[in-house]
């Protein structure tokens, strides 16, 4: 039976990980993510799993790769400074295709920043933080309930796609408590990594299956295999030739894109659907004038949703990605022309708005509601931008310096 829990976001992440089958955690404590480490240290050994506090986040991420190839569903949790240190071996996990999950409970930066306060400023770091061309999958919970469900989804995707998957939470979501409907044990859909079958001497750890993902053995089983951070062929043997490099880079990116349908879809909600019947709204094809397409994720999406609650008279559609990377561009693009403008709300100086502008491609004006002082962005701040009275990037308010891109790039 489903049970109701009143969990903290970080607690829900841990419970989601355990429910997904996670049995290895390597990490380094850092505010505001440390509850995840503390709970992992308590829960995992009781399940026959392993918690290890490493000497730093570089080592933590390296240990995840080792444990993952040894067969573990492995994860870590961190925040900005630690996420920066992890980038090196996130690249290793991508290259050796080691499934693992990295929770980043985002806090204000740069550097130590405001260590106990929220931000959403690691949007681009999650996409491009490690060097080189690579795919990225990042899920963004906007509730404690999603801290649970999207952590399960992150493990599922990591295993199915053989890659690190990020959960970008933030200090607000991570530290607040909310109702979670906990599904009964055994009722969740849990995906496992593709496994090899057949003659061990024929095993090629980097020969893709039909979905572009190679089957993964584990150390200590019948299959002996070799993983390398260097460019490599299907045997996992390093190879320097251009053809091998091109094929591997292409496959690493394509394995995510061709499995697009596995990624959690965005939530799209407008005032009518949010508040139920009783709010007259013209049907499809007859969108009212002045409609605003509001794009927000994570805790900013909570403030954005409040705008819809506060102003039922205004036609606002909230587009809330659950998967931030790869960005759900087709879904957003399909909505653009039903609205007169697009507003992006985020707790940084303008990161996701760049992606929104790319998708909108000049068809509509794009404005931004931004905040990067360690405080939660408020519904009132977003409303001002929805109404067109402010645009954090227009250069008029002097509150943001990141408006150099413009909407007509």
């Amino acid at each position: 039976m489903t049970r109701k829990a009143f969990w903290q976001g970080n607690e829900a992440v841990l419970e989601g990980a355990v429910a997904a089958g996670a049995r290895f955690y390597a990490g380094y404590p850092i505010t505001p993510s440390s509850e995840i480490a503390e709970l992992a240290s308590r829960r995992l050994p009781a399940l026959g799993g392993v918690f290890i506090q490493m000497e730093d986040e570089i080592a933590s991420m390296a240990a995840l790769v080792g444990a993952s190839l040894a067969g573990a569903k492995a994860f870590t949790a961190t925040s900005g400074p630690g996420f920066s240190l992890m980038q090196e071996n996130i690249g290793l996990a991508i290259m050796v295709e080691a499934p693992c999950v990295v929770i980043n409970v985002m806090r204000s930066g740069p550097s130590t920043g405001l260590a106990t306060k929220p931000a959403q400023a690691d949007v681009m770091q999650a996409r491009w933080g490690t060097h080189g061309d690579h795919p990225a999958v990042a899920l963004v919970p906007a509730s404690v309930s999603e801290c649970f469900s999207l952590t399960v989804a992150a493990f599922n995707l990591a295993e199915r796609l053989r890659m690190p998957v990020f959960v970008l939470s933030d200090e607000i979501i991570g530290h607040m408590r909310e109702r979670v409907e906990v599904p009964p044990e055994g009722s969740l859909e849990i995906w496992e990594r593709p496994r090899p079958s057949g003659d061990p001497s024929e095993y090629r750890p980097y020969r893709p299956g039909p979905d572009g993902v190679p089957p993964l053995a584990e150390f200590g089983g019948p299959y002996v295999f070799h993983a390398t951070s260097s460019m490599h062929d299907e045997r996992g043997v390093s190879a320097n030739d251009a053809g091998t490099a091109a094929a591997l880079i292409a496959r690493l990116g394509a394995k995510v894109l061709r499995n697009w349908e596995l990624l959690p879809p965005p939530e799209i909600v407008d005032t009518a659907s949010l508040l139920g019947s009783g709010h007259d709204r013209p049907g499809k094809g007859a969108k009212p004038a002045g409609g605003v397409l509001l794009v927000a994720f994570g805790s900013s999406a909570r403030s954005a949703r409040q705008v819809l609650v506060d102003h039922p008279e205004r036609f606002v559609t909230l587009f809330r990605p659950r998967t931030l990377w790869p960005f759900p561009e087709a879904e957003l693009s399909a909505l653009v022309e039903d609205h007169e403008s697009v507003v992006v709300a985020e707790m940084n100086t303008g990161q996701l708005v760049l992606e929104a502008e790319r998708v909108v491609a000049g068809r509509r004006p794009v404005r931004a509601a931004l905040r990067s002082d360690g405080e939660i962005i408020t519904p009132e701040e977003i409303w001002e931008v929805v109404c067109g009275r402010r645009d954090a990037r227009a250069g008029r308010t002097g509150e943001s310096w990141s408006g150099t891109g413009g909407s007509g790039r």
Partner: protein
């Protein structure tokens, strides 16, 4: 002292070629380099321990010696620079029954990965580190490392090195390693014996192998030809501080963590987490 590889894994007589990927030869190391000797001694130690390649994981870093996994037919991870021990720790912590060996040079082990080295020794994780110390970064052109002696000429210390180098074995001992040994690439038999001993240790073990780099360190420091460098190594080992230097019983990480798992299953432990605040 517990010997984790004695017993059932010693299934049949093996030789070093059982672990060598001959198809990958010739190796990339320079003429006069000691890495080929270290590789053969390593694989010879695998053979004398009767290691099952399926139950063995070799983790390497980046550098000349970090390329060794290319020639080894066990499981392997060729990781990032300096992180071999951290990767190996993940493997060993999750699967304590695997034999886990980390191959690193002085750059990997003593320099960029120094933090992982001391912590691996402190937590006594059951990984055998076989470190080829040639006093400089050979692969990238002979820059100085954490073991380069003061005054040495390298491609980044053209006026003489302004820093002292680490004594890796002393550092390993201070940090808590269960087994510490030093030898040279010249002393093939001793090398194989020490590595085989290290492989039998339950906790963290280090075998430091001094090995010549005639291409860079030797040339810049006028240490003569490769044969002259090898002769010097042979002489140097007569000066003491060679062979097994430390061998002590300390509970390994695996042993202690089994206790943690048992306590967790029994439901003991202190309140942690958000509810305790």
């Amino acid at each position: 002292m517990k010997d984790r590889t004695a017993g059932p894994t010693r299934s049949r007589a093996r030789g070093y070629t059982d672990y060598l990927d001959e198809a990958a030869l010739p190796h990339i190391w320079c003429a006069g380099c000691g890495n080929g000797n270290v590789l053969k001694a390593l694989l010879g130690a695998f053979a004398s321990r009767g290691l099952d390649p399926r139950m063995t994981v070799v983790v390497t870093g980046i550098g000349c010696w970090g390329k060794a996994d290319d020639y080894i037919r066990t499981n392997a991870i060729h990781g990032t620079h300096g992180r071999a021990l951290a990767v190996a720790t993940g493997v060993k912590a999750y699967r304590p029954e695997l034999a886990v060996v980390a191959l690193m040079g002085d750059g990997d082990f003593a320099t960029i990965g120094g933090n992982h080295f001391i912590h691996a020794a402190r937590r006594n994780i059951g990984v055998t580190a076989v470190v080829a110390n040639n006093l400089n970064y050979g692969m990238t052109g002979g820059q100085y490392s954490g073991t380069t002696p003061a005054g040495s000429l390298t491609s980044t210390s053209p006026y003489g090195h302004a820093e002292e180098g680490f004594d890796l074995c002393a550092l390993a001992e201070a940090a808590g390693a269960a087994y510490v040994a030093r030898t040279t690439a010249y002393h093939y038999r001793q090398m194989e014996t020490l590595i085989a001993e290290a492989l039998g240790v339950d906790g963290f073990s280090l075998v430091e192998v001094l090995t010549p780099c005639p291409t860079y360190y030797g040339r810049l420091n006028r240490e003569g030809s490769a044969p002259e460098m090898w002769r010097a190594l042979k002489e140097r080992a007569r000066g003491g501080s060679f062979g097994c230097l430390v061998r002590r019983d300390r509970p390994s990480f695996a042993e202690r963590y089994a206790g943690v798992q048992a306590a967790a299953r029994a439901g003991t432990g202190t309140e942690v987490g958000p509810d305790a605040r």
